[in-house]
């Protein structure tokens, strides 16, 4: 087992880190206030191959795998979680990668890897989040088209994407609950697709989140991912096993960023004539943050490595996601405390990190869902 990074990964980390530092830092605060998606930064990142880096070279990506993508995600999130979500410009395409036909892969993966399109993954509905199989958006075959009706909620990139990989019920009469769905690619400019941007998010406000409604939206049957109906639930599970790790990498990044800022602040801030870094409670907090960041990081790297080597350990994935969410919230919280009053105002970044961190316990698998996954599998 080799714990050293290859030269490519080191350079990749440097490019991603430098990019985030130069391109995110000057605008992050304003984008957070204005709830604005940084399309220009996405475009620039795309030009460098940072978006869709996981996509194999034959489909236009850099072929660095989900491990490489995790490194980029980590470096981006270290600077700003909201802006780091430009890396989700390929969101949904992971399902096409795992389950799509060769034609679908060639077409859609190259669109997102070349910066020609942004994708979204439309799974969640107003009444179905954790209960994926509870999704009720209907796709009814009519000749050589599907007609789609339904609503989706909390869709990342919903209002900026060019197409979305959508979970629909195609086989309502299937015996098993898990055989009723399919994933269908829906282009955003199809008549009947309405995206409404969601305002007022607590955090990650530079990322785009929307409600989508489908009213008699028609798409060709060739948009059915994998060309086989009824596989949607399993394709979604496989998709989430992948994205869960990417989101965990966000947690590592945010936690590390919070730790960096806390360390810098406590060395400079004085109380009672000495830097607060010399106080033991401060030291305890810093040490606890560092322990969690290191542990989470190793969970993420292991999980990502497994993904790239076509091994999936759902228990490991859930442990990773749960722990990453906890670590991010934990570190952001301590970072604010260590900044004292200054941590509460937006002139300092840590208050944004605090607001941003919570989503990591909510999306891409709530922490409760992860706990149940771990326990049920162990106790099965």
């Amino acid at each position: 087992m080799d714990f050293e990074f290859s030269d490519e990964i080191k350079m990749l980390r440097k490019t991603a880190g430098d990019f985030a530092k130069n391109e995110f830092e000057p605008v992050a605060q304003d984008l957070d206030r204005e709830e604005k998606y940084p399309r220009d930064v996405w475009k620039k990142a795309s030009g460098l191959g940072l978006i869709g880096a996981w996509i194999p070279e034959e489909y236009g990506g850099s072929g660095v795998g989900f491990f490489g993508n995790a490194i980029i995600t980590e470096e981006f999130s270290r600077v700003d979680l909201g802006m780091s979500l430009i890396i989700a410009g390929t969101f949904g395409c992971e399902a096409i990668y795992w389950a799509g036909t060769e034609e679908q892969k060639k077409k859609y993966l190259s669109l997102v890897s070349h910066g020609e399109a942004i994708s979204a993954g439309a799974f969640t509905e107003p009444d179905a989040g954790t209960d994926v199989a509870g999704a009720r958006t209907r796709a009814v075959k009519d000749g050589d088209e599907y007609v789609i009706n339904g609503n989706k909620m909390f869709i990342t990139n919903g209002d900026v994407c060019d197409f979305m990989v959508t979970l629909c019920v195609t086989n309502p009469d299937a015996e098993k609950r898990y055989k009723k769905h399919s994933l269908i690619i829906v282009e955003s400019d199809r008549p009947g697709v309405t995206a409404t941007k969601i305002h007022g998010k607590m955090g990650i406000r530079a990322s785009d989140t929307a409600e989508i409604s489908f009213e008699d939206v028609r798409v060709p049957v060739s948009n059915l991912v994998g060309d086989v109906e009824g596989q949607g639930f399993y394709q979604a599970m496989q998709f989430f096993d992948t994205t869960r790790i990417m989101v965990s990498a966000q947690g590592v990044g945010l936690a590390q960023g919070a730790l960096d800022k806390a360390i810098q602040y406590v060395k400079e801030r004085k109380a009672f004539g000495v830097p607060i870094a010399s106080f033991q409670i401060t030291q305890q907090k810093i040490a606890e943050m560092a322990m969690r960041v290191e542990a989470t990081r190793n969970l993420v790297y292991k999980s990502a490595w497994y993904l790239d080597n076509h091994k999936v350990d759902p228990i490991l994935n859930s442990i990773t996601k749960y722990y990453a969410g906890e670590t991010a919230v934990f570190c952001a919280n301590y970072a604010v405390e260590l900044h004292g009053g200054y941590g509460y105002i937006d002139e300092y970044d840590v208050q944004r990190f605090y607001r941003d961190a919570k989503i990591l316990q909510l999306y891409e698998g709530t922490k409760e869902a992860e706990v149940l996954t771990i326990a049920r599998r162990l106790l099965a």
């Binding site: 000057p26 400079e268 801030r269 200054y342």
Partner: protein, 326 residues
Amino acid sequence: MPGILIYAEVQKGEIKKGAFEITSKAKQLAGDVGGEVAACIIGKDVEGLASELAKYGADKIFVVDGPEFENYVPEAYVQAFAQVASQFNPSIILTSASAQGKDFTPALAARLKVGSISDCVDLSVSGGKLVAKRPMYAGKAYAMVEAVKEPQIASVRPNSFAIEETAGAGAVEKVSVSLDTSKIRMEVKSLELAASEEPDQTEAEIIVSGGRGMKGPENFKILEDLAHAFGPTATTGASRAAVDAGWRDHSYQVGQTGKTVSPNLYVACGISGAIQHLAGMGTSKVIVAINKDPEAPIFTKADYGVVDDLFKVVPPLTEEVKKIKG
């Protein structure tokens, strides 16, 4: 052979202040190493300037004067100075580390087949050898350096030594240099000098500098007013934040990736004091910080601090300075 030879750079028809600084220092060092202090001026129509150097200790002043030396071209100046150096045969050669000095000195040294020590902030003699102190790592460390062979060559950071008047014999000697023009492959086409009379930051005695707290390019006017109040040896500077925001040209930037300055007074307005900025002005004799953030790191390095809104402090400060200067 004992003796110290200094290079006196001429700019805009005048000998640069740095030349007087190193002449003064050479006079002092000659007391330890023995020998005469000589200076060398190179340029066109510069003969008349030579005698000025006698005031600061030059016993001999070599003048290389001709139209071919009107503009600085490294090869021409190196040939000329090398000839003077081989004639005078000094144990030490000093230059001022101006843009020209930094360009010229290592080439000269290599031509004489020796090394040089650049950007020195102090010089002393120990056991007959020149010991030079120079900053490294953007001033985060200092090194004491010695040359292996003679002549020992050092370029000196402007503003490092006081100018002292100690009369030298002042004998002016015109040197005729026949240039090997076949080796000259560069020509100065034009000089674009700024209209302003303000000194360059690396040579200014007082710098009034602005950072992120300036909030916009038009606000630098109040810093310019303060610099004018301080006098003709003052200029303005900027931190990286202000330059990156496009508020000032990068020629104003002070800091690790900007200019390294050593003024007598550095007034930092709305600058937080990141390590990289401190690296560029940390050797200033007196640092003043004006910033409304009491936690700004710059206050830990400032000799005088004012915790208040710079827009409310700088204009009245300008008025006070004008009153004091009369």
